[in-house]
Symmetry: C2
Subunit: 238 residues, 2 copies
């Protein structure tokens, strides 16, 4: 694997080059810290932007849904070009001048073509990863999918052809210096996505405790850090 | 204003109709609870999915950025069709059967055409709303944009032609009933996006306190609820 994705017309950051990187490891790190992405695709000239959960397997990203979903049907039938984006909002940056206001964020934008997972073994693997990627070992604990249930689900995959990570992480003092004496509060309002205490199903026998798959989601922990930690542990497995 | 957006080929939910609504008020409520959206658009057949901050003014949504941004240049020059999506991840739903695993979420998908804000007065209004929408009154406190700064920024707007809100909010017991006796932990892992205590700029004179615009962002509050509350208060203003 190359250490950088190729920088092309579609992936090259047109602005703010200091914040952009095409490093494979930086792209993987941001994907691995994410559970939700937004996928842009085009049907008869009309763009759609669909939020969905996804996971990464090597240089592939994978998503899934009902075979009846418009997104999956169109993407599978036409091997569509897609742009898959993850983003994390980190803070609102409040400055002394109107012009300096901004947000700090991390995003990854990926380009490639959607492809239906057709091989039965590969589909079975993804049907486990849809759980095990986020809840390691879960597929061995639950009722496995029946053949009829598997037929109701499509998995789409995309080989990452190009990708760019953009990160903005500037303090409120990053604004025209002539404004720094203006007397108004300036700073950052930090934003974080966190986990709350898992809530048992109302039908659950109280004697059934959380397994290690669920216990990794600790009350108050950041979601991005928790997901990254799960991936790091999975990579250590033999 | 109609109370519902028209249900068309592009906006009609193909699946899970019980979760979809086309009500204008439901669309506005979800937009008003959001700071970040993802915009899908097409340049020469290639889809792009760009995260950006946005705000709503009546039936318009507005976003902005550098005049050098590819997204804004292309959208403005070609009056492009866009699909603007906001989404909130509320929980990971962990069930007894593989097939039942899912996420609970709220999303709004909007369709329309991007249009450059060209009228100088309208541009000046949006240059205030980019702050005041989130930080009420902020534009009156800060150094206003210079004519040169205003030239460096483009504002794009879109009249919402069609829109659909989808909400999934099912408990872990929403799975095939024959699996409910399988003995494994089931429930939800709640996910929330929260505000942390605002952090002053390292150059700020400690005698300068937070104004009411910043004080609305209370440590530990949910971002979506805080933004909704700011909008409700703004609507009460004479």
């Amino acid at each position: 694997m190359e250490q950088q994705y190729p920088i092309t017309q579609r992936s090259k950051a047109k602005r703010l080059r200091e914040r952009a990187t095409y490093d494979v490891e930086a792209v993987y790190a941001l994907l691995d810290a994410s559970l939700l992405c937004h996928i842009a695709y085009v049907v008869d000239g009309q763009p759609f932007c669909t939020p969905t959960t996804f996971w990464r397997r090597g240089n592939l990203v994978v998503w899934h849904g009902s075979v009846g979903s418009r997104m999956l049907r169109e993407q599978a039938a036409k091997h569509l070009e897609v742009c898959l984006t993850v983003s994390h909002l980190d803070s609102v940056v409040v400055t002394r001048s109107a012009f300096g206001h901004s947000v700090n964020y991390r995003s990854a934008m990926l380009f490639g073509r959607a492809e239906l997972v057709e091989d039965p073994d590969e589909k079975l693997l993804e049907s486990r990863l849809v759980m095990d990627h986020f809840l390691p070992g879960r597929s061995g604990l639950v009722v496995p999918p029946t053949p009829s249930e598997l037929k109701q689900v499509s998995f789409l995959k995309m080989n990452i052809e190009e990708a760019v990570v953009k990160i903005r992480n500037y303090p409120a003092s990053h604004e025209p210096p002539q404004h720094r004496d203006h007397e108004v509060w300036a700073g950052q309002i930090p934003i974080e996505t966190r986990i709350r205490e898992p809530v048992p199903c109302e039908l659950l026998d109280p004697s059934i405790a959380k397994g290690p798959d669920i216990a990794r989601y600790r009350e108050g922990a950041r979601l991005d850090e928790t997901l990254s930690q799960i991936r790091r542990e999975a990579q250590k497995q033999p």
